[in-house]
Symmetry: C2
Subunit: 427 residues, 2 copies
């Protein structure tokens, strides 16, 4: 398939500017040419006037399957919430439940311009199927724990997942091991996963790190080290790390990781709502670290609206630092796109640039949020909302057109999720 988008404005992240009146030629799954007045024989021509083209967003940390738990238990203390509400009901989910709740989350992601997710959950083959069917790019990371004594089983399951799904759909699907956290995995288990990541897989690991003060305090008590220092001693930081949260990363830890392939994933809504704290985004950026962004799961966010996440992440750091200039809009957009792509180990993804993968979001500029048309970089972060996302292209194909999902029946998914949830609660 080939598409030519004519006369569109696009976000040039390397130039940190908006380029107007551009023609963007997409062939196969790539951006083949960007120029002016391109005359090419293509399958489809799109009129890009009054539209803004951005790289598709990368939601680098989420739990897609948790959409059942949206608004199920809020305004509760963390352990009460987990132990008495989330874990007991989560234990009742089956494979098909997870397929449908993941599909609902994927719909929300696509509708807010996301073209790549990194999901940590279980029954990940069914999450992979949902990704394949919807057309989105997906990193499947099996959340593994061994506190239940079933570590071996999960390693075996992960091995199968990797064999069956790694690089499926021409590389659109990736598989990465995910030890859940230092408080749900034993030292030996973490060491084993670190070893396998390097030797059997692709030297990528996804883990929750330094999310809460409790986690840090317990780590110091138990291991005499902070969480990131501790996982370093286990060999985890010899792989590239997708490090969800890092709310309580210390100055010493920043020194330790800043020259490693260590990518914190910032989840502002979740960190605020769970009272985890304020992630030191400004400080990490000043140390030349690259950060990604994520929505986290619906049980803590409580939605998958990536545009809202950018807005929130953009403004909260200004109050944290008491500096109006802290974490400017352009940095948020880099985190949300090209840095997210690098975090997840993708090459040539996250920029609107020739030879890059054609993962793109098209915003409608004829909306209130973009009126009048001032700085469109500011607009994307500070005034836009997800309804301004009109169409989404992933891997060269439209997966949403005029706010309608191309491959998924949204209404049907909502009906099934509602019905299954009633059933889950009765189990």
């Amino acid at each position: 398939m080939s598409v030519l988008i004519k006369n569109i404005s696009y976000l040039d992240l390397e130039g940190e500017k908006i380029v107007d009146n551009a023609d963007v030629f997409i062939e196969g799954n790539k951006i083949k040419k960007i120029g002016e007045n391109l005359n090419l024989d293509v399958d489809e021509i799109i009129n890009g006037e009054d539209k803004l083209l951005t790289p598709g967003f990368v939601n680098a940390h989420t739990h897609l399957g948790m959409s059942y738990f949206r608004n199920y238990a809020d305004d509760l203390a963390l352990m009460d919430w987990l132990e008495n509400k989330i874990w007991p009901i989560e234990a009742k989910l089956n494979r098909e439940d997870i397929y449908w709740s993941s599909m609902l989350s994927i719909i929300e992601n696509i509708k807010s311009g996301v073209t790549t997710f990194c999901d940590m959950y279980y029954e990940m083959d069914r999450v992979g199927d949902a990704a394949i069917e919807s057309g989105i790019r997906g990193v499947l990371t099996r959340g593994m724990t061994d506190v239940d004594g079933k570590g071996e089983e999960k390693l075996k399951e992960f091995d199968d997942l990797y064999k069956n799904y790694q690089n499926k759909c021409g590389g659109r699907i990736k598989v990465v091991p995910a030890p859940h956290a230092i408080y749900t995995c034993s030292t030996e288990f973490l060491k084993e996963i670190a070893k396998r990541a390097r030797e059997n897989y692709d030297s990528l690991i996804h883990i929750h790190l330094s999310e809460t003060i409790t986690e840090v305090e317990n780590s110091k008590k138990e291991y005499g080290m902070t969480p990131i220092e501790y996982v370093n001693t286990l060999g985890l930081l010899d792989s590239q790390v997708i490090a969800a949260h890092c709310v309580h990363i210390t100055d010493e830890e920043i020194e330790l990781v800043k020259n490693k392939k260590f990518y914190p994933v910032y989840n502002p809504s979740s960190n605020l709502k769970l009272a985890s704290g304020f992630t030191p985004v400004d400080k990490m950026l000043k140390n030349n670290m690259k950060l990604a962004m994520g929505t986290d799961g619906d049980s803590s966010n409580n939605n998958q609206d990536f545009v809202e996440e950018m807005h929130l992440g953009g403004i909260v750091n200004k109050a944290v630092t008491m500096k109006e200039k802290a974490v400017p809009a352009i940095e948020i957009l880099k985190m949300a796109t090209v840095n997210g792509a690098e975090t997840l180990g993708f090459e040539k993804l996250g920029l609107i640039k020739e030879d890059y993968l054609a993962d793109l979001a098209i915003f409608d500029l004829e909306s209130n949020s973009f009126t009048p048309r001032n700085n469109l970089i500011s607009a994307l972060v500070y005034s836009a909302n997800s309804h301004d996302v009109e169409s989404v292209i992933c891997d060269g194909k439209f997966i949403m057109r005029d706010r309608e999902l191309v491959n998924v029946d949204e209404k049907k998914v909502r009906e099934i999720v509602n019905k299954r949830w009633e059933d889950i609660k009765r189990r």
Copy 2:
């Protein structure tokens, strides 16, 4: 006109619960009856299945006319932003410019469920006209300063505004004096306005108070008192005060105002984006103070999305206090409705209750944000977005139906705002 909404779920703020399968009868501008299986002869019957009815939201502090400045100057230090960007261009606006930018902001407000605004700007008669034409309830507060030596002129202008607009449209329009701030008004001017508010008007005053540390430090230096202590000595607190911001309100000030008719208006987006700081919402609520919420103007927010404002205001306080239970969703909803109505001096407004004014928002529950249907109080604050607002009723009349404004041509307003802005920049 009479309307009967059948089988709807509604937000009962006094009961702190959702009531299902209710019939709500609206006659004239009031909610006349709430019950089950009402059989009444009405002009229109609405099917309320799969919908959620809430009180219309009260945006208790905004600057509607500033929508031109959305995304015009961001990520700048406050004084640089004001002195070199906002003030010079603001000086070029004429009456008709302000009418159209206010209309754009009113559209955004209505589309996010707002039925009442409290606007502080100038050329307020034209803002009043926009409110009257769009059908929204509006509190017109002329922002007055005398640093330019033109205090008398503004007091005269306010007098005319009050004569011509107070209680227009059966009380839908109100007029309230608004000394801009302690740093733009002289002591004598503040005293004079405080006196007139009590003697000539309705004992209501709208003012920016304790927004930034600079304001507090300068007040201490100049008057030997904090801002709220200072305005108390001038008689301002003898009227009911709509106190925008109060980011840096002190414990002593809380003691001073907590038994007065003093209503802080919380503007989370603006306070974060301008790096003003974190408003101590939790502390004020614990002192039994009633707070309202506002979006502030588009130059600092940068939108008028009240649903997003509730989300942000709801979650940020949990991280500020490091308590998951701080400022629960129900408190945010009260701030956004009934407390806002009381703040602005309205009676019988902001609740879904018999004999109350029929200002209502209808949310579509067949949306991703509300799937599955768990706690709808949580959903309104934590997962909903403004696109879930399907219809809006103000003063008993539909002002938005199926996401289409009833009285305003939204596309035309955007076109005119874009055109005028190009012209303003050339002046």
